[in-house]
Symmetry: C2
Subunit: 229 residues, 2 copies
Amino acid sequence: MSRSERLLDLIQCLRRHRRPVSGHVLADELGISIRTLYRDIATLQGQGAPIEGEAGLGYVLKPGFMLPPLMFSDEEIEAVVLGSRWVAKQPDIRLSAAAVNALAKIAAVLPDDLREDLDATTLLVGPPAMAVESIDLGLVRQAIRNERKLDFSYRDAGGAGSRRIVWPFAIGFFDKVRVVVAWCETRQDFRHFRADRIAGLTATDIRYPRRRQALLKEWRATLDQPRGS
Amino acid sequence: MSRSERLLDLIQCLRRHRRPVSGHVLADELGISIRTLYRDIATLQGQGAPIEGEAGLGYVLKPGFMLPPLMFSDEEIEAVVLGSRWVAKQPDIRLSAAAVNALAKIAAVLPDDLREDLDATTLLVGPPAMAVESIDLGLVRQAIRNERKLDFSYRDAGGAGSRRIVWPFAIGFFDKVRVVVAWCETRQDFRHFRADRIAGLTATDIRYPRRRQALLKEWRATLDQPRGS
DNA sequence: AGGCTACTGCCAGAATCTGACAGTACCGCA
DNA sequence: TGCGGTACTGTCAGATTCTGGCAGTAGCCT
């Protein structure tokens, strides 16, 4: 196995162990000496991989996605850039910032002539939806990623308010409004919550007892016609 | 210089020369022997780079974007995936397909556990805009990329039709409609053309005499308020 | 036919990588 | 305070890989 292959393997090993893992174990799994492992770790860190080592504990890979070298065609990069620009216009501040950062990272690793092409990709997105949401959708996305319950008060179409505890598993982005899709503990059913009608949002630490993929699949089955992605 | 760095340099060299270039020239630029160059070319091809060599001509890099290894955070990958899904719902068939392909390429190089996360990224996009455009926006995007004139007939807001020859340099994506932004040769001014009012589109081979970046910059300066990305 | 080029196999020297050992520093725990 | 586990660095000889030169085959173009 060549060295570059082994470096990718090392990343996968680190990802498998979510807890800190000692260098000795990693070296064993890869079939290399501890000394070589230290060198490989240093190489990966030099390439920007977020690996952290602490004496007495071991190594952890901070969450993130490592993309190996990748080829995109002209149209594919146009599509990715246009999509990221659309996301950058969304009212969700954190997500918007992430889209800008992703574009910057792509631009940063491109050679100069291609960076110019990317900046000049002349597919533009219209003005933002101008929705006024008092809540931070970033909290909702985090709860979805970690499969945690949410607690908030909701004002329905008729204006009546109610307290809800829900298991969120998706967010729908529509032209004018964003909708949180969740299993509602209060109503014991799938419910859609318009983000602009949610108030007093609290992200709890309580994990809900289902996988979000399973909830998503079940919810899709209840729809008359397919939607979403 | 390490071998992996040199491989990236080789790609950049190939990109600089748009015309076929002989292996001897490339080896000179990189300061390596012709024999090593052949080995490097073989390595890159093995990693999927679209390099074509023809005896008697030289090497050419088929158009495409090469991204070196890249790290994205959770939120950044969510942003890219959401953006690509939005593009995938656009009526522009070729662009939509490119977005799907880009997602597939990203998924293909991800380890299994992360691919699952990506598929399960539960940020959904609403139903497509359902615009009915008789023309192929792919032709317009190609004309923009290559800075070629377009020839079509346009029906304005009042219903009056006219034949136009324009220099297209941008497309605006709005909620309900797409707009081609161009310098209109017929009117000698910047004009916006709603895609659904364009008919009889012909992509010409005639290059227009300005850079599209310059046109874009000039057009932006004529706007009262900033827009686009 | 002749020139140019891509491509392969081979081999010896150069460069790099690897494993082992020794040593330092930090953390948590008793 | 001492002790074990761990991260990290320096050094060095042997293993591995890389590199350049050479010879040879084959395809494209004029």
